[in-house]
């Protein structure tokens, strides 16, 4: 049997939240032994779509992050569970055995991704099972089934269209949900010649990583705006903006998040 994993492409997710409702539709009031008992009516988000709002008006973007259990290889929840109720299936999916779980709650703070929920009625912990019951029937997980954009897929990672990452690898849990397009800091701004009150189009914007010397280049667009994306957090950069006929703009920036330089006046040279 080929090994498959959840893969999430952030660039494709538009935040429709259909996966959230479909997951509830599948699990509320329905039991799929042994993988899970019913999800309660409310307050459980076995998948949730975080909306990460970035930037300042007018240069604002939103990244949507559909987040479920990351089905970690070194799952902290498994270690934290005193009852041995959290197990890994042969296919790598992590599941909580509702018959063994005593509802002690130790797994919840252990999970660095905050995706384990307490079912107060049944006094057990619950989370995404990867729709194990559907996979066993040859069907895709509900979130994958409903996603209109193929932002959430369940496939062999060799099939991915680009490089894959995991969420917060620094937690050391070795997640088995793989991501594309995870947000990386940007430097943005807009170029204006204040004297003429005209935006400056086609200026060359060069951002240099002061640690490794790598350069990222772009040009200001038809509205004078530029976006240099995919940069590294907590890193020093220099930026040089140049356009024939105008004075250069240079600066050094320590990037502790997205940076909008704002309106940059490029006087005539």
């Amino acid at each position: 049997m080929t090994h498959r994993n959840f893969m999430i492409d952030v660039d494709k997710c538009t935040g429709c939240n259909l996966c959230v409702v479909a997951c509830k539709d599948e699990h509320v009031d329905s039991s799929y032994p042994p993988w899970t008992k019913p999800q309660p009516e409310e307050k459980h988000f076995w998948i949730k779509v975080g909306a990460l709002e970035r930037g300042e008006i007018p240069r604002v973007r939103v990244n949507f992050l559909p987040t479920m259990c990351q089905h970690c290889e070194d799952a902290p929840c498994i270690i934290a569970c005193p009852e041995g109720a959290i197990k890994t299936r042969g296919d790598g999916l992590v599941w909580i055995d509702g018959d063994l779980c005593t509802g002690c709650g130790d797994c919840q703070p252990a999970c660095p991704y905050d995706v384990i929920y307490k079912n107060d009625d049944l006094n057990i912990a619950q989370k995404c099972t990867g729709c194990a019951h559907r996979l066993d029937n040859g069907e895709n997980p509900r979130c994958v089934d409903v996603c209109p954009h193929e932002a959430i897929t369940f496939d062999q990672i060799e099939e991915a269209s680009g490089p894959l990452e995991t969420l917060h690898p620094e937690y050391g849990a070795k997640p088995r949900v793989f991501w594309q397009g995870l947000p990386k800091p940007w430097i943005t701004g807009s170029l204006l010649n204040i004297k003429t009150d005209e935006v400056i189009i086609g200026a060359s914007v060069e951002v240099t990583d002061l640690k490794d010397g790598r350069k990222s280049e772009t040009k200001s667009d038809e509205f004078g705006e530029f976006w240099v994306t995919g940069l590294k957090l907590n890193n020093d950069y220099s930026i040089k903006i140049s356009r024939a006929g105008y004075k250069d703009f240079t600066a050094t920036i320590f990037l502790d998040g997205d940076k909008d330089i704002g309106v940059i006046d490029l006087p005539n040279s």
């Binding site: 599948e26 409310e42 008006i57 939103v62 409903v146 209109p148």
Partner: protein
């Protein structure tokens, strides 16, 4: 399939779009009479999908998977919501002798039997007939969205019932509420006078428009366009797919709106934030740049338009001394002049189309007809209809055509493929059937005022001339006015203007009797005297007509579960009432009705599918033409391979529905019929009004409210489903789900408002409570609250406020602009772009309501207590 093997699969139509049409149904799994789950529908492999082939940008099609809005997947909860009307209910304060009208909205209800309910209704109708000699005292509100079954869940049956009483029993006319063009307002009242399109509410035809845009366009402006919210709600997957085509084709998307709306957040390359309802000023400045730099299509202006010199003079300030330059517009719109210039230059240089779903926030505000006309002006200045310069509706509207669909579809499927309900004419028609009628925007005033006069039937498909015809209510001076309301919509206070006044009108002592027919206790339903329990689509069989999609289909909807309580379908409710009044023949058995409708379609006439076979097969999905077939079809209609939209007009220079048959900068019709109108002059101008930030009123209410169509509920529908609330609401410190109010950090800081705080939004029309959602996604000076939140009236100290956050309660009504008793020239709806102030509220000041649900409102529901 161990878990699913015993499940029965039932197709169920859209939960909220209604009007006898649907998009693709969900596949509902039912087990032991219970809804287990709802899954996307996959169009089978043997159905041929279309493809749009471009020269250099690749091929475009749609996926086989069809989803609906989140609300549809919450069916399990919604069908059994605590607001379900399970039995006929009578208001405890009401008797035939004393209406105790003041108790509407606060009285409790008791369960009564169907027999008694029908006795009361028939008794009231007979009393009205005996006393007044006609049904004119009955205001019938039966034009709403609602569930999307073809027959059973339709909200038009009230009109049909009263029409049949007239036709078969000679009971005379009823007062027909005519639904105004609510989501198109500006195009209807304004753009029609520039370019016509009377049959599509003032928005240009969409024939094969995607072929043209995907081949030629270099930039598409999303003018408040939000296919991720409104589009998904109405058209399903199609609306989600189409913006992705633009991206794939490498077309730049520029979003112009006060908010970075859901589609802009997902798809836009550039966002140009604009103050609400100032689009007309932006367009004037864009025109200024083009005139100044001579970058408009002068030859097109000469051959395709009339009256351009008047616009040119106005733009240059020759008529009023004000140059409409980018600096001037910058003050009004909040857009830097440099950005306006950049936009204008880009628009002129690149082949640019403009996209809406319905029209966004700009199109439903005070004087939005001026913005819509101005939009048509600037499109004309760049040769509207030229390759890549189109007006684009994102989301496959199927009736927006001259002769061809928006995407490749066989014309005979378009015109004969689907069952068409003649009932639509009552609501989205060419004019009222009853000569005694009232526009929906004036329904409250018709109850409250002795006489009301206005122009236009406001009917969706009325000819533009109708906007200059005078009408009045009541039709005669000695008429009794409205004495009874027949409410099938349940949406007036949440979707139309000044909802607080509508609720007040329902408490008017002249109203002897208010009937509500609905599945859920919500909004104005609790202001009824008698409520009849309507079913959800899961509780009856029906035909599903898939017309709100790019692929046409029909499905047979089987009954999924037993009816909840003693509910009946909307059709059955009217049928049993009709039968008691001797109208048996007017209400044939539903299956006969459905069969007759089905047998008029191609599935029967061409493909020889019998009704009985169709019911077993459960669906008919029509193939799309191959690309080459489509190219042939287009050729027969005058289009080449990669032209579409208004290409025919670009080629011919005439043929529009305007008096000159050209694009009219100065409207010949307005000039002839209402030449001195300040509100809507023959040449559209920037007109300041009292709901703008520079008005006197703004000193008290400095913020401008904008209001979009909601993302998770459908207008007012489905707002109290917990799963939907969890997605769309903000939980307050008191654990109540508050409707979010978007506010910019600057405006919030000025008022000491933090994220998640409970805030009161108030103006001279009342106050609502929301949760503050502090965001960079809204322009400073504006706040955004989607329309249609479920009303929950409470007291804040001693003040009545709506904790539900229904912004329409405090939106303007058109009457405000006119002296009482004077004729209302343009009975427009203005529910976005109006003034308010916002302040932080401590939740301890709120005295909660007893809750708007069945258990809280119905005191006696046990069978032994049936009255």
């Amino acid at each position: 399939m161990s878990e699913n093997s015993s499940a029965k699969i039932v197709y169920v139509s859209h939960p909220g779009s209604g009007l006898a049409r649907s998009n693709f149904p969900l596949e509902c799994h039912v087990e032991d009479g219970k809804i287990i789950r709802s899954l996307p529908f996959y169009i089978p492999d043997d159905v041929r999908l279309y493809e749009i082939n471009t020269t250099e940008r690749g091929s475009f099609t749609r996926p086989r998977k069809e989803v609906q809005m989140p609300l549809a997947f919450a069916a399990k909860q919604r069908v059994h919501a605590n607001t379900r009307v399970k039995f006929p209910l009578l208001r405890d304060g009401w008797t035939p002798e004393n209406n105790n009208s003041a108790g509407r909205g606060s009285d409790s209800f008791s369960r009564i039997s169907w027999d008694k309910a029908i006795d009361i209704i028939v008794g009231q109708l007979e009393r009205i007939h005996d006393k007044y000699g006609s049904m004119e005292p009955v205001l019938v509100q039966a034009d709403g969205h609602g569930q999307s079954g073809y027959l059973h869940s339709l909200h038009f049956w009230g009109h049909y019932l009263f029409d049949m009483l007239r036709e078969k029993k000679g009971w005379g006319w009823w007062t027909q509420q005519v639904r105004n063009p609510d989501s198109w307002e500006g195009y209807y009242w304004g753009a029609k006078h520039v370019w016509g399109f009377d049959d599509t509410l003032g928005e240009p035809h969409q024939d094969a428009v995607w072929d043209d845009v995907l081949e030629h366009s270099e930039m598409v402006i999303f003018s408040g366009n939000d296919p991720e919210a409104t589009g998904l709600g109405m058209s399903g997957s199609t609306a989600l797919e189409m913006p992705k085509w633009l991206k794939k084709a490498g077309i730049k998307i520029v979003a112009i709106a006060p908010d970075l709306n859901h589609a802009a957040a997902a798809h836009a390359d550039t966002w140009i934030p604009i103050k609400p309802n100032t689009d007309a000023a932006l367009y004037l400045a864009v025109a200024f740049v083009w005139i100044h730099e001579e970058t408009y299509d002068k030859e097109y202006i000469r051959t395709h338009t009339v009256g351009f010199n008047a616009l040119k003079a106005h733009v240059q300030g020759n008529d009023d001394g004000i140059e409409k330059n980018p600096q001037w517009a910058s003050e009004i719109t909040g857009i830097p002049a440099s950005v306006i210039k950049a936009l204008a230059r880009e628009w002129a240089a690149k082949r640019t189309s403009l996209s809406v779903y319905f029209g966004g926030p700009k199109i439903r505000g005070t004087l939005s007809h001026l913005a819509a006309r101005m939009e048509a002006y600037v499109l004309a200045m760049q040769g509207f209809g030229a390759p890549g310069r189109q007006f684009l509706r994102t989301g496959a509207p199927s009736f927006y055509k001259k002769s061809l669909a928006q995407v490749p579809r066989y014309p005979d499927v378009d015109f004969h493929g689907l069952a068409f309900s003649p009932m639509i004419e009552y609501a989205i028609g060419h004019g009222p059937k009853s000569p005694v009628f009232i526009p929906r925007t004036l329904a409250a005033e018709a109850i409250q005022q002795r006489k009301i006069k206005w122009k236009s039937t406001t009917a969706a498909l009325a000819k533009a001339e109708d906007q200059f015809t005078s009408y009045q209510y009541p039709a005669s001076d000695d008429a009794p006015g409205i004495r009874m309301v027949w409410n099938e919509n349940g949406s007036q206070p949440g979707s139309w203007g000044h909802g607080n006044n509508w609720l007040e009108a329902l408490r008017n002592e002249n109203l002897d009797f208010v009937v509500g027919i609905h599945p859920w206790l919500e909004n104005d339903l609790t202001y009824s005297d008698l409520i009849l329990p309507a079913q959800t689509n899961y509780e009856h069989e029906d035909l599903i007509v898939v017309q709100r999609s790019d692929i046409f289909a029909m499905f047979y909807q089987e009954q999924a579960i037993e009816p909840v309580g003693e509910s009946k379908s909307d059709f059955e409710i009217h049928r049993v009432i009709g039968q008691r009044l001797g109208l048996d023949e007017a209400f044939p058995p539903p299956d006969d009705w459905l069969k007759a409708s089905f047998e008029k379609t191609l599935a029967s006439t061409r493909d020889n599918l019998s009704w009985d076979h169709f019911k077993k097969k459960k669906h008919v999905i029509y193939d799309c033409p191959t690309w080459e077939e489509w190219v042939e079809i287009k050729k027969q209609h005058g289009y080449s391979r990669h032209t579409g939209g208004l290409h025919w007009f670009w080629k011919n220079g005439e043929g529009l529905d305007t008096p000159s048959s050209k694009i009219e900068f100065v409207s010949e019709r307005i000039d002839r019929l209402d030449p001195h109108s300040v509100e809507r002059p023959p040449l559209a101008k920037w007109v300041a009004h009292s709901e703008q930030p520079h008005s006197k009123k703004a000193q008290t209410y400095p913020l401008t409210v904008m209001s979009n169509h909601p993302k998770y509920r459908f207008h007012v529908q489905g707002d109290d489903i917990p799963w939907i609330q969890e997605l769309g609401k903000l939980k307050g410190p008191d654990q109540y789900f508050y409707e979010p109010c978007w506010i910019h950090p600057e405006d919030a800081a000025e008022r000491n408002i933090g994220h998640g705080d409970i805030v009161m939004i108030h103006n001279n029309r009342g106050a609502i409570l929301c949760g503050a959602l502090i965001t960079e996604r809204i322009i400073p000076g504006a706040i955004s609250i989607d329309h249609g939140a479920k009303i929950d009236l409470v007291r804040l100290d001693n003040q009545a406020v709506d904790r539900g956050g229904c912004i329409n309660l405090i939106a303007p009504t058109v009457q405000e602009k006119y002296e009482k008793g004077s004729e209302i020239d343009i009975p427009e709806m203005n529910v976005s772009g109006f003034l308010a102030e916002i302040e932080k509220i401590n939740h301890t000041r709120i005295q909660p309501s007893i809750g708007v649900n069945f258990d809280s409102l119905v005191k006696n529901s046990k069978p032994e207590n049936i009255r």
